[in-house]
Amino acid sequence: MAETLQLDEFSYSVWETLAKHEEIGLNELAAALKSDQSRVLVSIQEAANQKFATICEESFDELIPSSEAVSLVNEGLPERKALTLLLESNGELGTGDFAKAANQSGIAVNDVFRWGTARGWIERDKQGVRITDSGRKAGEGEKDVDEVAILEAAGQPTSLENAPEAARIKQLLGKRNELAKIKSRNRRTVSLTAEGRKLLESGKISVKKERNLLSAEDIRSGAWKEITLRPYDVTLSAETVRPAKVHPLRKIIEQTRRAYLEMGFTEVVSPMVESSFWNFDALFQPQDHPARDMQDTFYMANPATTDLPDDAELVDRVRHAHEDGGDTGSEGWGYRWSPERAKQVVLRTHTTASTIRALARHPEPPLKTFCVGWVCRNETMSYKHLPVFHQVDGIVIDKNASLATLLGTLETFYMKMGFQQVKFKPAFYPYTEPSVDVVVYLESRGKWIEMGGSGIFRPEVTEPLGCKHPVMAWGLGMERLAMIRYGLSDIRELYQGRIEALEEMALHQ
């Protein structure tokens, strides 16, 4: 046994209070110390480890009456009311008659059968319902044990330790929530051992000052040397705080921009309000193509129309590409191209409208350029569909551009986007030939996902704009990538602005 003992201030006060009692419930002790049970228990546990204290645990059942319990019992439980019915009919009724009579008196028949039988007050068989001997006694006013317990508890949680026939009470009330709940409780009783008392009385316990946090004064004055800082349970988590953070979609857009910039691409922009000429005609999209229907594309009422590009020759080459292929070696679409339709103003349906403008400004290699921005489809909104979203689009004019270099460029790009495995499959897009779909392996889901489209621009697109070289082009939708990355089930979460939803999208994804 230790000759001396060092305790912090709080533990010492625990010892002192304990010494005043033969034994004491932990809850009472904590109340006396104006502390919480767990903190008190730490001190006692420490003492108990050195045999200075004992902790005695016992479990007991507690009756927690419902707020209506007393009035329900006083009014008479359904099975008790049923006794009266039965007694009035010489103690026996056919089941049907009984149910009818019970219904008329507003007595719940099911309760009567369940609890009346459980109490042994009634018997039920094919002949009907019968009162038993104990039922008769009860009918004379003798209360059952649970009724007594409820009345005695008077609405307060009460231990069943000393209650007569506790087992029967538990059986009768255990599943009858309208009356009460029975909960199993633990009680800890604590006391000092003889050694503990002796040590305390001997005055051999020294007390060390204890703090939760040091003050500046403690540090300056050197008092910290005498102060015990209570060790923390460093495995517990602290309060949750959420940072102000970049929008999760913005983060993906920035990652995408960075991938292009690292690959030596120049960023370009153009307004969302765009002419049909650059959005459709310059991309060899026929003027009767369904995508140009009012159904699918937002047309502007203001500004409704715009001029065609100043370069009349360029416009003429585009017209010829549509009508008969012009000098591009193509058959064209074989219809009469309307300048008026090309002048209509739309909300751009793809950012290719922007990169194709860059191509027309700079048709000579090398050109590597990209655009990220809003694109619009005249559609309704749903969990998987937005009428306006972000798209990124990149193009490369290079003397050596080919399908093989397109695949190599896509591989590099998608690896920079964080996908370790990339596959390609043929696809059909209106302005590229050949066209390629990129399929990436998504580590987190363990599956392959189609990510974006790409291809080599058709000569009918590039040649009228003055570009004689193959042009690689590819794009992808940002919101779709965000949905996949953040595991969203509803795309609108990105824009509806529930702060919790945004907070839950961890940026690492």
């Binding site: 102000a244 970049v246 120049t266 009422a301 193509s330 569909h385 080919s402 059909f428 897009y429 602005g497």
Partner: protein, 616 residues
């Protein structure tokens, strides 16, 4: 088909039809036992959009007796898509099969059905390579076109037709025929407007036939699905389900187009419906097929594709002699191959492949194309392709087939290209700085959609609706009539969405707004804006001013402030500021009426900055 490079989130949206291709049937046509998975994988390699492999059930319609495919996930069927019959009692189930579900490729009608797909797979598996041979025999059937189909009262001038004889027509064939017909109506016919297809039992018809018009109110016939009921054209448009569905295609016609036989029996009233008396059943062996429309190329394409697929399914074709409105009588269908010339060197350059004559030939043969050198040349080749490959417009279209025939899997990616320097946009670099300051001040970034309404954009802010602003003409959603000119709507809507969250709320949004500008090329240009909002008991002019001051410090600008009046803010608590750069803005305490208009009841301080003009 909607646009370049936008993958759909879920297949089946965008109105793209899905077709079911039965694995067992494909194997029968291929004459081999491939696993369904292998078939699906190979279809992907030729460019098909395979969705999944599923089991579908077939049911029998008690009225017309045709087999109906159950919809995915449904246990029973109560509606016939042949005759439109509908009943309470589920139809009798007649079997099931494993199918590959494919999204239709609008660009490739030749891959719309099991016949066309079998043709492509035979080549890709190298079972049958080179140009498919389609022999067309002759018949004595004639069709005369009446001038009334190309007049003021009726405009549907083009017609092509064919006879196909089948050894047997079972349920599966009938379903496939109908699906192909639907697919072509969608992919080529523009929902029956440009072209629509009719199929008939030739044994119920006696030639010669006439493509003519009828009076919509006097002549009657028995439309499909209404046995025993004689209806006029107009009655069909008003009462028959198919009629109401397509009435708009004939609504401005004073006479309706019909096909009649020599006895005056109406075969059909295109593009609406066929007649009951000439309908195809499981007993039919000889089919008459017609395509009518307003686009000659769509009519030809539809017929060629339809007939070729029937021939792949084991049919034999015979021609019909058509006497058109003008010009000489011709035989239809004309399935003779077309030609295009390509250059090997161009192909290798375009694709980055090391192809020689042999590998060029092998790759194209695999795609069911024939290749012959041009007069002893070792670099120029004539490629012969079937009539139905109407996607061939340019040499590069052949290059794509060449790449697919070679196999995308076999192409070695290379990363070539001249070194270039990356360059970001100045406004984005500037926004990075604004963003890091705002985040440092504890404001979270939000994003909102750039379209809104007059009410949310102007009226709720007590702003008059301007005479001129970026206005959308045809929005499908009522919530999208204005392209935003400021960012206040988005931040206020975010406050409303989060009105039950603990206060204070602090957000910012950095994005472009649209400004009408007659000097701009399209009449509109964009500006980068920054909106900052705080809601809570301490939100005040002073709190938002602190934010602006710290932003100005970090960007190195000196701002001068002046008191202004602004309907959205409390008088005397709103300021405008300017700097020596493009940065300027408005800040203040939001007017209580505006706060209430957005369903809020706490003080709001708000600032909106123009941070840069965007030069294109």
């Amino acid at each position: 088909m909607r646009t370049l490079f936008q993958k759909r989130l879920k297949p089946g949206v965008d109105g793209v039809p899905v077709i079911n291709v039965e694995g067992e049937w494909l194997n029968k046509l291929l004459g081999k036992e491939y696993a369904v998975e292998e078939l699906a994988d190979t279809l992907e390699q030729i460019g098909c959009d395979v969705e999944d492999i599923v089991t579908v059930e077939r049911f029998r319609c008690p009225v017309c007796g045709n087999a109906v495919e159950g919809s995915l996930g449904a246990d029973v069927t109560r509606r016939c898509n042949w005759c439109e019959h509908e009943q309470e009692q589920p139809f009798e189930r007649i079997g099931e099969s494993q199918v590959i579900r494919l999204d239709l490729l609008a660009a490739r009608p030749d891959l719309f059905d099991v016949g066309g797909i079998a043709r492509a797979l035979k080549g890709y598996f190298e079972e049958v390579v080179g140009l498919p041979k389609y022999d067309v025999g002759t018949s004595d059937l004639e069709l005369v076109v009446d001038p009334s189909v190309d007049g003021e009262d009726c405009q549907r001038p083009f017609i092509r037709c064919a006879i196909v004889e089948m050894e047997q027509i079972d349920d599966a064939t009938l379903v496939a025929l109908m699906k192909l017909q639907e697919a072509l109506h969608w992919g080529v016919g523009r929902d029956r407007k440009l072209a629509s297809i009719g199929v008939y039992d030739l044994d119920q018809i006696s030639g010669p036939l006439q493509y003519t018009t009828i009076d919509p109110d006097s002549e009657r016939f028995e439309p499909l699905g209404r046995p025993g009921e004689q209806m006029t054209g107009r009655e069909i448009l008003e009462k028959h389900p198919k009629g109401t569905a397509y009435a708009k295609l004939l609504e401005d016609h004073r006479r309706f187009p019909v096909l009649k036989d020599s006895k005056g029996v109406v075969l059909s009233m295109p593009p609406i419906i066929n007649s009951e008396s000439t309908k195809v059943s499981q007993n039919s062996r000889r089919l008459f097929i017609d395509v009518t429309g307003i686009s000659e190329s769509a009519v030809v394409k539809s017929l060629d594709t339809f007939v070729s697929s029937l021939l792949e399914m084991g049919g034999t074709a015979k021609s019909v002699s058509v006497k058109p409105l003008s010009g000489e009588t011709f035989d239809s269908p004309d399935l003779s191959p077309r030609e295009v010339e390509i250059d090997l060197e161009s192909a290798n350059r375009w694709l980055g492949l090391p192809l020689d004559q042999d590998s060029l030939k092998a790759s194209l043969n695999r795609m069911r194309l024939d290749v012959t050198p041009v007069d002893g040349s070792d670099s120029r080749f004539t490629v012969r392709y079937p009539a139905l490959r109407t996607d061939f417009k340019h040499m590069v279209d052949v290059f794509e087939d060449l790449a697919i025939g070679y196999g995308y899997k076999n192409i070695v990616p290379s990363y070539a290209g001249q070194a270039t320097t990356g360059q970001s946009r100045p406004e984005d670099d500037q926004s990075d700085m604004f963003r890091s300051v705002m985040l440092g001040l504890g404001y979270g970034e939000i994003m909102s959609l750039p379209m809104t309404t007059e009410e949310l954009h102007f009226e709720k802010f007590k702003l008059p609706v301007p005479d001129s602003y970026p206005k959308i003409a045809n929005p499908k959603l009522k919530a999208m009539t204005v392209v935003r000119t400021h960012l206040m709507t988005g931040v206020m809507e975010h406050l409303r969405e989060n009105r039950r969250a603990p206060l204070p709320l602090r957000f910012f949004e950095l994005d472009n707004v649209t400004v009408l500008d007659s000097q701009a090329e399209t009449g509109a240009r964009e500006e980068r804006h920054l909106a900052i909002v705080e809601m809570g008991k301490d939100a005040s002019y002073a709190s938002i001013r602190s934010v602006i001051d710290s932003l100005m410090f970090e960007i190195g600008a000196t701002a001068t402030f002046e008191s202004i009046t602004h309907p959205s803010f409390i008088p005397g608590r709103v300021a405008a500021f300017e700097t020596d750069s493009e940065v300027r803005g408005v800040l203040g305490e939001l007017h209580p009426e505006v706060i209430l208009n957005f369903g809020l009841d706490h003080p709001v301080a708000l600032a909106e900055l123009t941070v840069s003009k965007i030069d294109v």
